[in-house]
Symmetry: C2
Subunit: 230 residues, 2 copies
DNA sequence: GCGATTATTATGTCTATACATAATAACGCG
DNA sequence: CGCGTTATTATGTATAGACATAATAATCGC
């Protein structure tokens, strides 16, 4: 059953077809790389590339010696691009606006201190982001000045903190969480909404090694959707 | 400057270090694969593997002939695992409960018809998911019975529709969107909340080729967070 | 000087081979 | 029979060499 000249994307597509048609059903162990390589008339490395790619997406499970299986509960993964607000807006043809609310040094409250695992005085920067002049997102950010000294004199009055940090503060990893919460009085005023309005919230903390660089809570006005493909 | 015995993960780590320390600064074109292979004392394919992996994560940009660059605006991507409700709950040590609200055939409203690009009569299944006996998530689902005929007689009274579909209805791709919205009267009653409460909402449509299999809106009780690492 | 053709170059991919690694299966001993 | 040791096996990774492809740079004709 040998075919000729397969590329890894073709093998990937064929494997995907077999998974979708249940020719390879959930729970099944599929033929091993050597057998597939022979079937497709290619090198084992080419099959490996294709199957590894599918495994990266959660569509196959691979274990040494045990072989490659179609998972019973395919935990689908979605990769979503964390938006850089201004770019996202400009892509949608909207004018981006930015307003600094305040920028001061203070000791963070307990929840922020816990998130950053540090209790010292931090830069606290609040800002408002606008789309076509309308309030769009309220941002509440804490920056550890011992990790990013230059932040003390950064021009947050004229440019948004996220982009400044991207350009000046490297980070190694981070956590991000999505949730919904009602608007409190302060945020409602900022976003020009009734208190209690349902806001989409992104809460993110980024780290440079073992030290938190910044933690930010972004509250989006109603209507905001974060979307991607599966 | 040749080192010995590098694995692709070591090369990846070293490249990451250089990006983070700005030894390779945003906008820079980094040395080409052949040069790096010589520096690290390994084959070009090994360097390729490492750089390709970083590019997959958006930390490098690669173009034939032009070379590999550190992007000016690194669009960080987060991969998040789409939760299978029951498993997520069991992982957190909570008892999972399920209750069917209704299961009937009817013509979908315009917004649903638009999402599925079909206007015929569909199965409309509403259900409530519980954590330790407390209402946790309200699910509103439409299934196209011409795509999944068996759904007409599926036991949605005893088992949740999501898991049944995963086991019986293959899909090729889908869209997923996250947003926040206030609880309307019906959902508020179901989740035992005050109307207007801020709900986290996941809206998902899955496709088998050109035909929509199902579209579902899941509304989570306050407190729900979807989180991942960057 | 301009536009179209050709050369060059860096990444992309494939091959064949080899060895590493992890997990399971088989074996053998008490 | 049970337990620890030893094979076996499928995936994981590395290599050198080759050719493909895309994009830029250089060249040539006008």
């Amino acid at each position: 059953m040998s075919r000729t000249a397969s590329t890894w994307t073709e093998i990937r597509a064929e494997a995907l077809r077999r998974i979708n048609t249940r020719e390879w059903a959930p729970g099944d162990t599929i033929p091993n790389e050597a057998e597939l390589a022979e079937e497709f008339g290619c090198a084992r490395a080419t099959v490996n590339r294709a199957l590894r790619d599918l495994a990266d997406e959660g569509l196959l499970e691979r274990r040494r010696k045990a072989g490659t299986r179609v998972p019973l509960h395919p935990v689908r993964r979605a990769t979503l691009r964390i938006p850089v607000i201004r770019r996202e807006m400009e892509d949608h043809g909207k004018a981006y606006g930015y307003r600094l609310i305040f920028n001061r040094a203070e000791v963070p409250p307990d929840d922020v201190a816990a998130r950053m695992r540090a209790r010292r005085s931090m830069l606290h920067v609040a800002s408002l982001h606008l789309a076509d002049g309308m309030p769009f997102m309220a941002e509440d950010r804490w920056i550890d000045p011992t990790v990013v000294p230059a932040a003390r004199t950064a021009p947050f009055a004229t440019g948004n903190a996220n982009e400044w940090l991207l350009a000046h503060a490297p980070y190694t990893h981070g956590e991000i969480a999505f949730s919904a919460e009602p608007a409190d009085a302060a945020v409602a005023t900022l976003l020009d909404l009734a208190p209690g309005a349902a806001l989409f919230v992104i809460c993110r903390t980024t780290w440079d090694g073992a030290r938190a660089v910044t933690t930010v809570t972004q509250r989006f006005a109603p209507g905001y959707r974060l979307q991607t493909t599966l």
